[in-house]
Amino acid sequence: MSSALEIKNVTHKFGKFRALNNVSVSINVGDFTVLLGLNGAGKTTLYSLITRLYNNNTGSIKIHNFNVREDSSNALKRIGVVFQQPTLDLDLSVEENLYYHASLHGISTADAKLRINEEIGRINLIEKLKNKVRSLSGGQRRRVEIARSLLHKPKLLLLDEPTVGLDIGSRQMILKHVKLLCKKGELAVLWATHLIDEIDKGEKVIVIDKGQILESGDVTKIIKKTRQKTIRDAFNKLVGIKI
């Protein structure tokens, strides 16, 4: 199976602080992978390197074989991102926000219109298209952000704690929507979270702590390897949480 994301031996420092230490990750096309770690584990730093908000000075990051550092344009074309912080412009309407994103990817107005209708229809928010983002609920804003991240038809979707601060209904709806997208097409998803209940059996999990990858593989493999009964227990054991 071809690789959607290939990270090899990436280390990143802020001054003397080592935020990531020799991180290697591989995600295949069609994979739904959960990047599981506590707050401050290094998830957002890793995302910032993949999206080239930060420059990776060591190792390599490739998206569909395009090196992020050397061929950032081709690499970034293939990524859709939902950041941890909300990034929609509250003073603009949903439609205006989506057109703006389409223009940042060089999509024509006619194409953008078609894609906006398609994506916004998929998340059942077509009636909110003309509404100001400010008037939407937290869950609706997140869904708009997901729709926006898919407008340019990326091959790899990165979501950084997309359900933080949302009620359980919105969380489940978003999770279900993204998992469905992953199953349908050739989209690979890297879902960063610290919420263990977002992980289903059979999914691939990468456990990160203090900037290091502690374990990687499907849920059952990690449970078996750590000799625990649940993924929660396995995670607690790996990161050293004692209850």
Binding site: F14, F17, R52, V81, L92, Y99, Y100, H105, G106
Partner: protein, 267 residues
């Protein structure tokens, strides 16, 4: 990447800035109130105190209001540039800046587009100011309304890129107040905006040199000459050089490989 992709991106960034401008009407009015207060109150009080001799581009004695009008136009652009950089720091703190920075379009192009979008907004404000200023008998030759345009673009670009560079160096929104004290006020007062350079030279030679090498003076004088359909090579070249320097600094500031953001762990 084809030129049409760049064009669509540029159009999108300008359109967004224009929409934000339309949605934030109070921003437009507050940008106009500031120079009008200077024109209506400050200039009225000082017109008898500060006499202005005949200096180019003027061909006769002029009222003080006419003298400070180009300085106030540059002031609109200075505040607009700083307002844009403030919104960039805010966007960065709030995260919306990231959506732009992860675009596949080269970052230098995105930043220049954002700068030009800001310049476009400031030009609208300047023309609105010029219309209102005509009630104070500040009426340049009709050609001046057209010849000022290139000067406004280049001075807006210079002041905007200075603001952008500052925004790349400022990590938190709270630190922006320092910019007011250490950049905006010294730049405005130590320039030819409120008084001619020869008058400053009479008082203090070292202050004259500070004013003379202040980039804002070049913006003010370029606007002054172009408003009267004249071109001054010295100021024209100066503003161009300052623009290029600030532009390079701001692009480097947002370069992931060199910028200050990554060193500080900012986002």
């Amino acid at each position: 990447m084809s030129p049409i992709i760049y064009f669509r991106c540029f159009r999108g960034i300008v359109l967004r800035e224009a929409l934000r401008f339309v949605h934030q009407k109070e921003r437009f009015f507050s940008a106009l109130v500031r120079p009008l207060v200077w024109l209506g109150i400050f200039a009225a009080g000082f017109r008898s105190v500060l006499g202005v001799a005949i200096i180019p581009p003027y061909e006769t004695y002029i009222p003080y209001e006419v003298y400070i009008a180009p300085g106030l136009i540059a002031m609109i652009q200075l505040f607009n540039g700083m307002q844009s950089s403030l919104s960039m720091v805010y966007d960065r703190e709030m995260g919306s800046m990231k959506t732009m920075l992860v675009s596949p379009i080269p970052r230098w192009f995105l930043l220049i587009s954002k700068l030009l979008a800001g310049v476009f907004v400031s030009i609208l404000q300047v023309y609105a100011f010029l219309i209102i200023a005509s009630f104070w008998d500040i009426i340049p030759p009709i050609t001046g309304y057209f010849t000022i345009l290139p000067a406004l673009v280049i001075s807006g670009l210079m002041l905007g890129s200075l603001g952008m560079f500052l925004s790349s160096a400022i990590k938190q929104l709270e630190n922006f107040a320092g910019v007011m004290n250490f950049v905006i006020f010294p730049m405005f007062f130590a320039s030819s905006a409120l008084y001619p350079l020869w008058k400053i030279e009479e008082t203090s030679e070292w202050l004259y040199y500070i004013c003379f090498y202040n980039p804002f003076t070049y913006a003010v004088e370029c606007i002054r000459f172009s408003l009267y359909s004249q071109f001054n090579l010295e100021y024209g070249l100066g503003i161009l050089i300052f623009s290029v320097i600030f532009l390079i600094l701001s692009i480097l500031g947002y370069d992931p490989a060199r910028g200050s953001l990554q060193k500080k762990g900012g986002k």
